[in-house]
């Protein structure tokens, strides 16, 4: 007997307090115990979570108008440049933009400080126009005295991501962490079986407008992310074997929490931002339950040598997240230490928090406004002369 349910039916169960929610980890023993069909009957929603450095992130800010008004051209927030080529007092502060003075402070830290309610120094200069005569401003802002402030992250929640190692004789400092010489360690960045896009590998329930947990607030999926790649080779469970799907996310910074958004600085690389994301997966039928049944032992990723400074780094092999999580893998016949960059503890906190929102009737599911568009295969940037393009 096939069991089916709609988003509307799930929302009715949330409203009546009857909804049954489990995290993508908690569901696994239940599926083992009673099978897909029975688990589908029992559980309405499965929550996922991830907390990882996601460089392609940033926030739009509208500062409000000064008197006399200014059309800001160059904007600094705590000495971090923000892009201001947007009307008069709109700006975008990118996570990886670095402070002019402090190398371990960047846009991500400005965002964290804004969320924390701290005062931020705003300096801006302008050419001065007839309608915006002011040429400079030097003041302080915080999240309570600015207008809109929302995160709009172009590429988050990678569906899967390659692991990293280093074949060279030198220590490499990368966005995948400190990589010791001569294959001294391996780092990986994913929440594995708890990761949002691994639990809905073909984006059947995740689409434009889907409501999500975003940085501690309720946010939305705006679009697919940049470099969204749906053509990556998949395993027999339909799980891509490397970097593949991505999401572009939007949400109100003023509602977020520094528990789930943190500035990061990777030595000799620069700044990035830890972003906490959770997506509820509605169990519409047995097929959806089969999707969330994935386990670390059945999710693979490729290992890449960051010592080779090329676009297409060769893969040194494929490993499951069960192997990577064990703390050691065998590479070239030798045991190599593995370490995560993605916080499993925080990912679990997020999945639990989202679950409590559903149980407390503070979060309802919605139908996506549209499925994620399917872009063509990824393009590379080549060095070309004028007129050499197709």
């Amino acid at each position: 007997m096939k069991h089916k349910r709609t988003i509307e039916e799930i929302n009715a169960r949330i409203a009546s307090g009857e909804v049954v929610v489990m995290t993508a980890e908690e569901i696994l023993p239940l599926i083992k115990e009673c099978g897909i069909e029975e688990a589908t009957r029992k559980v309405d929603v499965v929550t996922t979570g991830t907390f990882s450095p996601m460089c392609s992130s940033g926030a739009f800010v509208n500062f409000g108008h000064s008197d006399p008004p200014i059309r800001m051209k160059n904007v600094l927030l705590n000495n971090v440049p923000a892009y201001a080529g947007l009307a008069a007092v709109d700006a975008y502060i990118g996570a990886t933009e670095e402070s002019l003075h402090t190398k371990n402070y960047g846009g991500a830290h400005v965002i964290e400080d804004l969320i924390a309610g701290k005062d931020i120094k705003l300096k801006a200069t302008a050419p001065g126009t007839d309608c915006y005569p002011r040429q400079e401003i030097d003041t302080y802002i915080n999240k309570n005295n600015i207008n809109e402030c929302f995160l709009f992250n172009p590429r988050n929640a990678y569906q899967n991501y390659g692991a990293a190692t280093n074949s060279t004789d030198k220590m490499l400092y990368t966005y995948m962490g400190s990589l010791l010489p001569k294959f001294g360690n391996v780092t990986y960045a994913t929440a594995g079986e708890l990761s949002p896009l691994l639990n809905d590998p073909y984006f059947r329930t995740i689409g434009i407008g889907s409501k999500i947990f975003f940085g501690g607030a309720q946010g939305h999926i705006a679009w697919h992310g940049t470099q969204h790649n749906i053509y990556r080779e998949r395993n027999e469970q339909g799980i891509p074997k490397g970097g593949s799907g991505t999401l572009s996310l939007i949400g109100d910074l003023k509602q977020m929490s520094t528990e789930y958004i943190r500035g990061a600085y990777f030595h000799n690389y620069g700044t990035s931002m830890f972003v906490g994301i959770g997506i509820p997966i509605p169990i519409l039928d047995e097929d959806m339950m089969s999707c969330v049944a994935i386990e670390n032992s059945r999710i693979q990723t490729s290992l890449f040598d960051y010592g080779i400074p090329e676009r297409a780094r060769p893969s040194l092999g494929t490993f499951t997240y069960e192997e990577l999580r064990s703390g050691t893998i065998v590479l070239n016949g030798k045991k190599v230490r593995t370490a995560p960059l993605s916080s499993l503890k925080k990912a679990r906190d997020i999945a639990q928090e989202l679950k409590s929102w559903l149980n407390n009737k503070t979060f309802y599911l919605n139908e996506p406004a549209s499925a994620l568009p399917t872009p063509p295969p990824l393009q590379n940037l080549e060095i070309r002369g004028k007129g050499e393009l197709n």
């Binding site: 962490g177 360690n185 500035g263 830890f274 370490a339 995560p340 499993l344």
Partner: protein, 141 residues
């Protein structure tokens, strides 16, 4: 019996002295060399665990100081600011002493055991959250 972790700093002209031999032979101490850096013309550094009775350890260290060797107590050289830690595990990639470990318990929270730390300092740069800070001495080996 006590174990004391110390960093010995000594000038290039003191290189000729067989330090560990003296500590073992004359003071009946157990020596475990955790890290050593000796380059011609540069200050030498030796990180040791010294085990013995309280009196033996004190006498051994006093002797070294008399030999023009700087003795720096080296316990708790790094400290972890827990409010900054997000339990990502990036520091564990470089901690071969297993002083910083994650995933050994099912809660996947970072565990820090200061007694295992050998002061290599690699975790300081490996931490993306600035949660690990230097303690007693700030110069690296």
């Amino acid at each position: 019996m006590i174990t004391q972790r110390v960093l010995l700093k000594y000038k290039p002209e003191e290189y000729g002295k067989p330090l560990s031999y003296i500590l073992i032979k004359n003071f009946d101490l157990m020596i475990n060399i955790l890290k050593a850096s000796i380059s011609p013309g540069q200050e030498g550094r030796l990180l040791l665990d010294i085990t013995g009775t309280e009196e033996q350890v004190a006498a051994g260290l006093k002797h070294l100081q008399g030999e023009n060797i700087e003795v720096v107590p080296a316990s708790f050289q790094i400290s972890l600011a827990e409010e900054k830690c997000v339990h990502c595990g990036a520091c564990t990639a470089v901690c071969f002493a297993n002083s910083l470990a994650i995933g050994e318990t099912s809660d996947w929270q970072l565990k820090f055991d200061p007694d295992k730390c050998i002061n290599c300092g690699l975790c300081i740069n490996a931490c993306p959250c600035g949660a690990i800070v230097k303690g007693v001495f700030d110069d690296t080996f």
